[in-house]
């Protein structure tokens, strides 16, 4: 469980870091709140952050359910690959939005493994408890 908590905390720290970078891009390009457009580089940071938050809502429950129903260390290991892939995703998106597919794909695959593993694990546990 500690391993899952540490991967969770890393994912949260990453999200806070991305939020800071949105704020920095806001200042750098003189875009006053509440505007969220006006400069391409700002919009890229904004989209990276938004996409990361959207994925986080899927990732965290999947991580913990996988860790609980399948295996905590396998869950933490796959989760770590997810967090690293999001750094690669950010780097690619800022450089050129069109190049983001590779890193996105790696992150998506790890998330899908965690989510599908959770479903299989929970259904198997439910069936076993009914016998």
């Amino acid at each position: 469980m500690e391993a899952l908590a540490i991967v969770t905390a890393l994912a949260l720290v990453q999200a806070v870091l991305f939020a800071f970078q949105v704020g920095a891009a806001r200042v750098r390009h003189g875009i006053s709140a509440p505007a969220v457009s006006g400069h391409d580089e700002f919009e890229r940071h904004y989209r990276v952050h938004q996409n990361t938050m959207e994925q986080l809502i899927i990732f965290l429950p999947s991580l913990w359910m996988f860790g609980y129903f399948i295996h905590p260390y396998w869950g933490a290991g796959i989760g770590l690959i997810f967090v690293l892939s999001r750094f690669m995703y950010q780097r690619a998106y800022i450089k050129d939005p069109k190049s983001r597919s590779g890193a996105f794909g790696v992150g998506f695959m790890t998330m899908a493994i965690l989510l599908l593993g959770s479903i299989v694990g929970a259904v198997m546990r439910l069936v076993a408890s009914m016998q």
Copy 2:
């Protein structure tokens, strides 16, 4: 607990599905990232996805707290209605944003029951533990 996990996983699969549909609408209407506007149908899919993510953050903790403090199977059953209502919401919003209120209302009601039930359950447990 397995029942809560399965409903959680269904809600996450639904969110991933909605995200895919945003991506498909992006391609269909030739809207390149990071833009998030430019065609009405794309914007509808985008808003459905955004609204679903916003609700997911409220729904998941409410579901688990209700399941823990009140009853797991009742929680899972109400949660399942929530997930189904979000499919109805999507269908209505895409057809005509003005027609979304009915499905939104059903989803909101189930979410409110889970959230208010959690509060009542947690407060009752806290009071009982103090006696």
Copy 3:
């Protein structure tokens, strides 16, 4: 644990309240869905809500991990300050977006304490379990 659940429920009720206020501002200024811009006051409510949702994803796991690894009542107390700071943040943002920094800072500090405390707690527990 009940104390953490109650603070969680308060944060969720707050988020629902902010969502309602976005909807009310939408009606008040005649901005039809799916548009999310068109009037400054609406955009401020929209941004307050968005920012609150983004922070909620970081806050809730941090709150529970802090509560589990460090101390539930300390976690709940710090979490309560976070929720209050978000009301101050909303009030400041609506009045003048430039004045939001103070309340944002208080909220951010409490979130950072919960998140960093979680990491320290989880790592210490992991190290202790290895000995």
